[in-house]
């Protein structure tokens, strides 16, 4: 049963619709237990990628596998192992929450349908609304039903298309918690999102697509560092002593140190790699560190990337 390789694997998988390229051949390997975020502007190919993995559309080039099962040649094996939350909640509105889940659990021919439904309902906190018609629920509750439906058969791989879109901040936070809990329980998650702060909080790695093309791939930190430079801001209590200044200057791979009231900003060659050494030096020099923060967030990095690619497009168009 257990599969050794990546949980989700795209191998030059691409998709065109007539002349329109929805997804350029994409290579991606997502190990088990990872939360992977697909980011990108509208129409960049995120849903197309998810649909290929959910066996809804076939790739026109390359292959894709879920837990080693090919999405085209072993579609049924894939369907049994994935839980899908589509872009729209897409529930049977005339049926109750429970009946929506009963159908899903039955269709997956689970050994103990009742227990599976009860635990899915409990997981998303919907026990009290279980016998309400879905049509009467608000958007936030529907999203929960859609998540409950996606997990009722305890899939090892979850494909979530904008799971928190349209949710209020606390509902979105609840969705985040639930996704984390699922991964803690052993699932692998591929999710599309436009909420960059959310992606930064919960995704182990993200990919940024644009016009169906992969622009960036890495941890949110790596992307921040790559796109925004490795600027680190250090806040100190009290003016820096001479040993502190010396320790800073002596940090390997440091440059552009700017002393400011209450601390300093500097550039490191690789913020992730070099920050520990910087902090160690500061501690050794008995600096009173209040905070050490990498500058910028995923959102600024994303916007920087989009601005950069837009400039490149303009130059290309001009040439």
């Amino acid at each position: 049963m257990t599969h050794a390789g990546p949980a989700i694997e795209l191998d030059r998988a691409g998709r065109t619709f007539g002349d329109r390229v929805a997804l350029r051949p994409l290579d991606l390997a997502i190990p088990p237990g990872e939360i992977f975020g697909l980011l990108g502007p509208n129409g960049s190919g995120k849903t197309t990628t998810l649909r290929i993995l959910a066996t809804l559309i076939r790739p026109t080039t390359g292959t894709a596998r879920i837990l080693g099962h090919d999405v085209v040649t072993a579609a049924m094996d894939v369907r049994r192992r994935v839980g899908v939350m589509p872009e729209k909640p897409s529930l049977y509105e005339r049926l109750t929450v429970r009946d929506n889940l009963v159908f899903w659990a039955d269709a997956h021919t689970l050994p103990d349908t009742r227990a599976a439904i009860a635990s899915a309902l409990a997981f998303v906190g919907l026990e009290a609304r279980a016998d309400d018609r879905v049509g009467q629920l608000s958007k936030g509750w529907r999203q929960r039903v859609a998540l409950a439906r996606a997990i009722v058969h305890r899939p090892r791989v979850l494909l979530l298309d904008e799971p928190s879109s349209g949710l209020d901040p606390s509902a979105a936070a609840a969705m985040e918690r639930m996704i984390r809990a699922l991964v803690a329980d052993g699932a692998t998650v591929l999710m599309n999102t436009h909420r960059l702060a959310e992606a930064e909080r919960i995704c182990d790695r993200v990919a940024i697509l644009r016009h169906g093309e992969l622009l960036e791939l890495g941890t949110p930190r790596q992307l921040r560092a790559r796109l925004l430079g490795n600027v680190v801001n250090v806040e100190l209590a009290g003016p820096p002593t001479l040993p502190v200044r010396r320790a800073v200057e002596a940090t390997p791979a440091i440059s552009d140190v700017r002393w400011l009231p209450g601390g300093f900003a500097c550039r490191l060659e690789d913020a992730d790699r070099d920050t520990p050494a910087l902090i160690a030096g500061l501690v050794h020099a008995e600096a009173q560190i209040v905070s050490v923060v990498q500058a910028g967030d995923l959102e600024s990095a994303y916007l920087e990337l989009m601005a950069r690619t837009a400039r490149e497009d303009e130059l290309e168009a001009a040439a």
């Binding site: 994935v82 899908v84 897409s90 049977y92 159908f103 899903w104 269709a107 997956h108 021919t109």
Partner: protein
């Protein structure tokens, strides 16, 4: 066609469909009001019948009654099959539905059986009710004409294959049609020729017999099989979700 052992996932789909019908006013109306009308019309027809009429007249009256019963498995599926496809599409449920572990033929079988089963059952039920009324109150010569065994024989044989025909064509049309009403009208047109054999027997152009009913049922069953194969081949998951 699928074997008589229905896969559990297909049964799940059938149960879901039946649950949805229960909460759909138009389906409920069609599935309850129509059979009642089709039961009351023939009974009224027989009740008002003048027993002094010729044997030809008796046969015609019984035939008219039978025509009503045969309409039941043909008309009811038209409404239900349109809903079976367009209902999913309008709710946007087709996309998640297609991520379930069901093969193309299992989807189609589930959808079709959920319509053919209840429709056939309702048709048999009203026919049985009519027969009971005949046994209880009808006078000769109407009584023996109505109880002539070739009628129930023909009905038992033909009603299910007609229901299947009506369901399959209805679903084929609704898969293409944008609007539920257009789909219903279009499939209504196809269903007229399906009633042709029944009309021939009812008007005694052809005598009701094991042979004639058997032949008609065989022809409709062959058509059913052909449409099933066509429908399976035309089933296109990608197009289904991209027009959703």
């Amino acid at each position: 066609m699928t074997a008589f052992t229905v896969a559990p996932s297909v049964r799940a789909l059938i149960r879901k469909e039946l649950r949805e019908y229960r909460h759909h006013r138009m389906i409920l109306m069609t599935a309850t009001v129509l059979p009642i009308v089709f039961l009351l019309l023939p009974i009224a027809n027989l009740a008002l019948f003048d027993p002094e009429r010729s044997i030809g007249g008796v046969n015609l009256a019984v035939g008219q009654a039978m025509f009503c019963f045969f309409l039941c498995p043909v008309i009811i599926p038209a409404t239900m099959s349109a809903f079976a496809v367009i209902g999913e599409r309008d709710q946007g449920t087709l996309e998640p539905l297609l991520t379930l572990p069901l093969s193309d033929s299992q989807f189609l079988a589930g959808k079709v059986l959920a319509i053919v089963g209840p429709t056939t059952a309702a048709s048999f039920a009203i026919y049985l009710a009519y027969m009971s009324v005949v046994v209880a109150v009808a006078q000769e010569p109407v009584r023996s004409a109505a109880l002539d065994w070739t009628w129930p024989f023909g009905f038992l044989l033909l009603a299910p294959v007609l229901a299947l025909f009506s369901t399959l064509t209805g679903m084929a049309f609704s898969a293409r049609a944008r609007d539920i009403r257009v789909a219903e009208h279009l499939s209504g047109l196809v269903l007229l020729p399906a009633m042709l054999p029944v009309m021939l027997v009812v008007t005694r152009t052809i005598e009701p017999s094991v042979l004639s009913w058997g032949a008609f049922s065989a022809v409709v069953a062959a058509l059913d099989f052909a449409i099933w194969r066509l429908a399976l081949r035309a089933f296109d998951r990608e197009r289904a979700i991209s027009t959703a």
